[in-house]
């Protein structure tokens, strides 16, 4: 049954060529097939929203895009360079992975800020370590990133001294400071109290307006409607349907319809 949906790779959006391309990806954990042949292309400047029922493979799909999850088969191409399957030697492999990940920002459901570092140093760590910036340059860069998410006055706060919404904004700043070419968001508001969701979505919407390429896994259908150029419905390990905002109002697939009726 998986073959019928895999061809829905949904290449809408005019513009530049593909930035990130996942083709025929498969992944299973033990005996459970989580991703059953998914192809997805993300173009520069595009805002892709992935939605669907829990356990459908959304997060796994997203995590394959920076190879935090290694596909069992399929290919991953970023800016025309193939990163999976890896052609390079074992010795070089880690460096190539680092190179890929340093260009892709990721924001997690549970923030994953470093609790032993204050907000500023959460952001500067990879600037000094990966980008080899001087401390001073890294600090300036981190300050700018934190200012962008409205937290310049919280730089010296530790994660435990920040609200959930503030923590997630620091996490966004941490990813943003690396000047990523695409940002991946893995249910960025699911762990937040309802009254804090708005401030995070606000930052994300501004990023989208500024032209950041984004792939967002979310249950926030309002955000999907406002920001999504392309909506991708993932269920049972396949892309069951994808298209523009219209699939929210007039879904073509029964599964999409059933899901939307349940969440809206």
């Amino acid at each position: 049954m998986d073959g019928s949906f895999t061809s829905v790779s949904a290449d809408t959006q005019a513009g530049a060529g593909p930035l990130l391309e996942l083709k025929e990806a498969h992944k299973s954990f033990g005996h459970v097939d989580v991703i059953k042949g998914v192809s997805l292309t993300v173009r520069k400047g595009e805002h892709v929203v992935i939605f669907g029922p829990s356990g459908g493979g959304k997060s796994t799909l997203l995590r394959m895009m920076n190879l935090l999850e290694t596909p069992d088969s399929g290919t991953l191409t970023f800016e025309g360079k193939q990163y999976f399957p890896r052609m390079d030697s074992v010795l070089n492999r880690h460096r190539v992975l680092q190179q890929l990940r340093s260009q892709i920002g990721m924001v997690f459901q549970r923030f994953n800020l470093y609790p032993h570092l204050d907000a500023l140093h959460n952001v500067t760590l990879s600037l000094t370590d990966v980008k080899r910036m001087s401390r001073k340059a890294a600090r300036l860069k981190a300050e700018a990133s934190l200012a962008e998410v409205g937290l310049k006055d919280r730089m010296d706060h530790y994660p435990s001294q920040l609200s959930g919404g503030q923590q997630q904004r620091v996490a966004i700043a941490r990813a943003l400071a690396m000047d990523p070419k695409v940002m991946l968001f893995d249910e960025p508001t699911s762990a937040l109290d309802p009254e804090l969701i708005g401030e995070v979505l606000g930052v994300m919407e501004r990023l989208a307006r500024e032209g950041m390429t984004m792939v967002v896994v979310t249950h926030e259908m309002g955000f999907a409607r406002r920001v999504g150029d392309r909506l991708v419905f993932v269920s049972e390990g396949v892309i069951a349907e994808s298209g523009g905002k219209e699939i929210l109002s007039t879904p073509g697939e029964d599964r999409t319809k059933a899901f939307l009726e349940a969440v809206l």
Binding site: L68, G105, R110, Y114, P115, D118, V130
Partner: protein, 244 residues
């Protein structure tokens, strides 16, 4: 029947009389403990990492090492190492070396399990976040995981340091003049076991009492922020502390 004390006459002046012996013993005790603990702390890290390896062979080797070394009574180990091993191999190991080797090997097994518990208490997401920004595996460990695990590890490390000081009293059997043996020799000359062993005991207690606040200080400096992670760590620490 009522308690019938003997007419023992206390002579605390023997403690003063042998003060330099006891001091010398205390210094050697501290030296043995410090050297062994330092080496054990270093050796325990690769051991813990091997134990956590996904390669079954490696984790199996580490597991067996840990299980076996924890099972050997230290006194047997010391005698075996100093008299047995040197006889069989012909290697000339002095008493200090033999004592330090035994304490190091055994404590590295304990410490490896403490390290492992500390490292496993750190949320998987920490590593993922670090890797996702392009950090290498080793840098993610050094800059993100280890600093967090470290502050969980400090309190059980402190109890193990106290433990190694006490266990160093066993190396007296191979002729090292540490605190316990100095007290024994002094006793054999003065026949004042109560006074001299009380003195030794008090010195051990004082050493332990000095270490606890020092450990708290290090811990406080390492953990300046309280967070979900730290609270989780505190729970782990309690269970570790109970085990140690």
């Amino acid at each position: 029947m009522s308690w019938n004390p003997t007419d023992y006459q206390f002579a605390w002046n023997v403690v003063w009389q042998y003060r330099f012996w006891l001091l010398e013993g205390t210094l050697l005790t501290l030296k043995i403990a410090a050297v062994s603990m330092t080496l054990a702390m270093i050796f325990a890290l690769p051991l813990a990492l091997l134990r956590m390896s996904r390669l079954r062979f490696l984790s199996g080797v580490a597991m067996i090492y840990i299980a076996v070394l924890r099972a050997i009574p230290l006194l047997v180990f010391i005698l075996w190492m100093y008299f047995g091993v040197t006889l069989v191999t012909g290697l000339q190991v002095d008493a200090f070396g033999a004592g330090v080797i035994c304490l190091t090997l055994q404590y590295s097994a304990w410490l490896a399990e403490i390290y492992r518990a500390g490292l496993q208490a750190i949320d998987k997401g920490q590593r993922e976040a670090a890797l996702s920004t392009g950090l290498s595996q080793s840098r993610a460990f050094a800059k993100v995981i280890w600093p967090q695990a470290w502050r969980i590890i400090i309190p059980p490390l402190a109890s193990n340091f106290i433990g190694i000081i006490k266990d160093s009293s066993l190396v007296g059997v191979i002729g090292l003049n540490e605190l316990m043996r100095q007290a024994q020799i002094a006793d054999s000359l003065s026949f004042r076991p109560f006074e001299l062993f009380t003195a030794a005991m008090v010195i051990y207690i004082i050493l332990a009492l000095i270490i606890s606040p020092l450990a708290s200080l290090v811990e406080r400096r390492a953990a300046r922020s309280l967070s979900v992670q730290t609270r989780r760590a505190t729970r782990t620490r309690r269970s570790l502390g109970a085990a140690a």
